[in-house]
Symmetry: C2
């Protein structure tokens, strides 16, 4: 793979759609401008191609091995880590006085996205570490920061998130891992954690596990969960690594994709000698762990987008080069063959991919940009509003790309035909890797309950109304361009539809019909996702319409491509919401009425 | 896996929906009845579980190895083959005087389906051999039958189909393999064939390749293709195996799924010593090869269905056993957890799967049953009609299950969550295996062109009108049951829709707008497929409505499940055709208008 993202598109998203340069008005970003952003992105792209994409195939074929004692990875992963840390990319978003680049989130997420597109499995290691470090930054005490965070920022320690257990995945209230207070204020941890990505490896001096556990005597369910730092190796008072902290790798899970990332079953405290340190207050661990949830979920959506994006570009380049067949009305079998990009069905699959991956990128960067504003704003009301809006969009930013950019990979593979089905081409790996995204970080079913059951209802529907308002603003901006007339009308219809259906569902909820209110929540997620995506495409079309008249050559083709892809989305995709809306508004209970024995 | 198919459903399809026992009116099947059919299916199911399902995981993990000299497979494959041949399953459809069971196709296909559901990769070997043998039965001369067919029927020789080449997949008119006549009437074969399933292995004494090649001087394109028998090993006059026939394995393709089936790049005649034997007339090879195409494509659809089916049953059993979470309106975190089948979103995913896999089974068996009638009828007009109808349905029977039963596997995996993503559970393998089906045996894009470009137009739309007629009959039969009223109305609406859209498209074709007529052919395939599937579900609902009043206990639950799944399909799936129809009827040209540089 020598293309991971279309840099022209990324620039369009950042500078034309989001006007990221305006963030320099905030003191935190005052030293940045487009040139500094582009320099970082250039460096990231080069490193991603040289040191990450180079072993994506190999680390899939030669997955991490566990000999019962230690885990070993192919050496390219360590080389990639060293280069990544040396480039300071793990500090992209952090303060300059920590050695960081102090970049806005929308830039640091774009940078992260490039690495994911190149090699999702290898990038999981630093990404988990960054997430754990962010959590300790926000919630650790000064001793914890000195002892654990500092070496993470130095790249010497890596991190993990330990939530699930074999019997508790989506239902975290049912975890059984225990934390019993020691006399010295630390805790004795015991229990088993499942699906721990990066849970063991040979890439760092130590691994800092952030572990959810229950302190005996606390409340039942999620209200009795606390959060602990549990290092793989104990540290002495000087921070030097001592021996084992009784965290044992019970086994590696062997996955369909994402194979280069170790995924572990970990036993804590089998010998009664596993020491943990409470982060934040007892019994408030879930909230602490999920403090950065919006960021994490946007990251999943962006990752899914990028696997789709890399696959789209690969299938596009293939379609331009592969000669096969002739136009449908050609009569002469001896006429030269045409590249398959000339065939309507292939173009269809390319347009669908383009609409999904560029749309997904647009939504995820929009969300990251909201978070930048929310974090930097000094207006408390604006802060609250932006976070409410972001809360609403987050389940969509996680779930929509993980559905549709997976679909993009399926289409990319189809374009390559038999070749696409072989492991000699990257499409089948991207498709396998991407299949994780609808499952982890809250399944898409959970996202749909979060969206409809919580976010829509939150604060008397304020977030929902803010989304409607912003869609209205986009419609107003688009209405200035006669060429966008049909999109404006379709978007207005979609807004009305979303409003009507939502009111109908909320009405059912208010009548206490909780079960039928939520029965088809996944359809609600799909419908809302497509309408939000139409909004993103309307925004893109508006920027393109504004720019195309003055453009020529490649630039003109780029904008024309944006407008045509918007047309594809409005003609082919958005109308799918019609039957979804009708199904939802009918409060259909078929899934509830089906007798268990009838399956 | 200990369930591959719901036998109650299979019996429903065969005896209640299709009334297969009536086939005994034909002389060929006069010795058969439900008892003989069930005995064969029982034996197949037992063998499939004992000798095929047992190594499905292992043969995926330990794929065939090529040491540069020979190919080796895990020993379980050979054991499965021996038991299969000993059971005479490769002769299920053949004459009793050949040692066959003389079963109707709908029964022999159901039997084949059970093996595919158990282990698609291993069953590919006998299935390819059966297909090659069928072709030689129809088109081989008596010497060819004695020399090559007989040992195939004895299970000593296996067969393959060699169509594609590295530069010619969908475009067979561009193959380059050459066949030059020898003085003795045989041909000198030279060229390279790609994607040859079962192209080499250690399971049989010889491999009989059926090879498409061009005789120099013939017409260009597909009209210049001839068909040849090319054995891996030469035979002497007594049929004893001599040495190599200069067919060299250049390499194995390493696929995403279907890993247990060797897939080969074969070089024919590298040393100028590859002998082939012409089958049928020169330059008529493509027609000969595709003589059995309907059967082969129904087989692909049925295989896709069965992978979906096995995955559905696995996820159903899992959902019944896995405790996780509580009802949406439960307040007490200490209440016992419920099995996940209690959650609406899981029920949704189960109903979707059930509607896809039981619908797919219904369509494929319907097609096989049509073929039985077509083959046995002594009324030439009826024969022609049935084959026309079958020609129309075949691209749908191939493509619809390969899209939606793959989707079923995706949903099944989602139900298993993280576990579903690991290689310890069969869902991810089924999903990988099933991903081949939209690609091979004519991609689904090709199927859509076949459907809209050929089958709809064939014989002044006669096939299309026959489908409409049969749908009308099903509506008439359903109208007798008040409980089916809403389905009847919806089906009538779907028939009208399909008719209107098709007329509109045909109108464009008649005006010579070939490009825009075919621009969205894949949407036409999806729309028509869903309407045909609604027809299948209406038929099932009618049978269920007829039987449910007299039924009790498990039987009543079974019929209630059928009726509820029909409701799911009519409420949730069929309405998707609305936007597809509108898009098609608008003769949308977005995919054609997109400038190449705009991608």
């Amino acid at each position: 793979m020598d293309r991971i993202i279309n840099r022209r598109d990324l620039a369009f998203q950042l500078y034309e759609m989001l006007d990221v340069e305006k963030l320099s008005h905030y003191p935190r970003f005052k030293d940045h401008d487009r040139a500094t952003y582009e320099a970082v992105i250039d460096a990231a792209e080069k490193l991603a191609i040289d040191k990450f994409a180079n072993h994506a195939h190999k680390s899939d074929e030669q997955e991490p091995q566990f000999d019962g004692d230690k885990v070993s990875l192919i050496p390219e992963v360590k080389e990639a880590m060293s280069a990544y840390l040396e480039g300071g990319f793990h500090l992209a978003h952090r303060d300059e006085d920590e050695g960081g680049m102090q970049l806005p989130l929308c830039i640091s997420q774009a940078v992260a996205a490039i690495f994911t597109g190149a090699n999702a499995a290898t990038t999981a290691y630093p990404f988990l570490t960054i997430a754990a470090a962010n959590l300790l930054t926000a919630h650790g005490d000064s001793w914890q920061k000195e002892r654990f965070l500092k070496p993470m920022l130095e790249g010497r320690f890596f991190g993990t998130m330990c939530l699930s257990e074999p019997q508790a995945g989506s239902s975290l209230g049912d975890i059984r891992t225990k934390a019993v207070a020691n006399a010295d204020g630390s805790y004795q941890i015991s229990g088993t954690k499942m699906w721990i990505s990066g849970g063991d490896h040979d890439l760092s001096e130590n691994i800092i596990h952030l572990v959810l556990a229950k302190i005996p005597g606390g409340p039942a369910g999620v209200k009795g969960i606390s959060l602990f730092i549990v290092p793989k190796y104990r540290l002495d008072e000087q921070g030097q690594t001592l021996g084992s902290n009784d965290v044992a790798l019970a086994g590696l899970n062997h996955k369909m994709g994402y194979r280069g990332t170790t995924n572990c079953l970990l036993n804590f405290g089998e010998s009664g000698a596993c020491q943990g340190f409470l982060v934040g207050k007892p019994h408030h661990g879930l909230g602490t762990m999920f403090h950065m949830m919006n960021e994490a979920r946007i990251g999943v959506g962006l990752g899914a987008t990028m696997m789709g994006y890399a696959g789209y570009l690969y299938s596009l380049d293939y379609a331009r080069q592969r000669p096969q067949g002739r136009p449908v009305d050609a009569k002469d079998p001896e006429a030269p063959q045409v590249p398959i990009i000339a065939h309507a069905d292939v173009r269809h699959m390319l347009l669908a991919q383009k609409s999904y991956v560029e749309g997904g990128l647009s939504l995820c960067l929009y969300c990251a940009h909201l978070l930048d504003h929310a974090q930097q704003s000094d207006d408390p009301k604006e802060k609250v509003d932006l976070l409410l809006l972001l809360d609403f969009l987050t389940p969509l930013a996680k779930a929509w790309p993980s559905e549709f950019c997976l679909e993009a990979n399926k289409l990319g593979m189809q374009i390559l035909g038999g070749y696409g089905y072989t492991r000699d081409y990257p499409l089948e790996r991207l498709y396998r890797d991407n299949r994780l995204n609808p499952i982890h970080e809250g399944t898409n079913g959970i996202q749909s309950l979060d969206l409809l059951g919580r976010k829509v209802m939150a604060d008397q529907g304020r977030a929902f109304h803010m989304v409607m308002e912003r869609m209205g603003e986009a419609i107003g901006a688009a209405a200035k361009y006669p060429a966008l007339e049909e999109f404006v009308a379709a978007m207005q219809g979609a807004v009305d539809l979303m409003s009507r259906v939502t009111m109908k569902l909320v009405g059912a909820a208010r009548e206490g019909k909780t079960e039928s209110f939520l029965a088809n929540s996944h359809d609600y997620l799909l419908m809302t996702g497509h309408i939000v995506m139409a909004w993103m495409w309307l925004r893109q079309a508006t920027s393109a319409a504004a720019a195309i008249e003055q453009a020529s050559g490649d630039e003109r083709a780029f904008y024309a491509g944006k407008l045509m892809t918007a047309r594809y989305f409005f003609h082919h995709e958005l109308p799918k919401t019609g039957p979804q809306a009708a199904f939802l508004a009918s409060l259909d209970t078929t899934v509830l009425d089906m007798p268990d024995a009838g399956f």
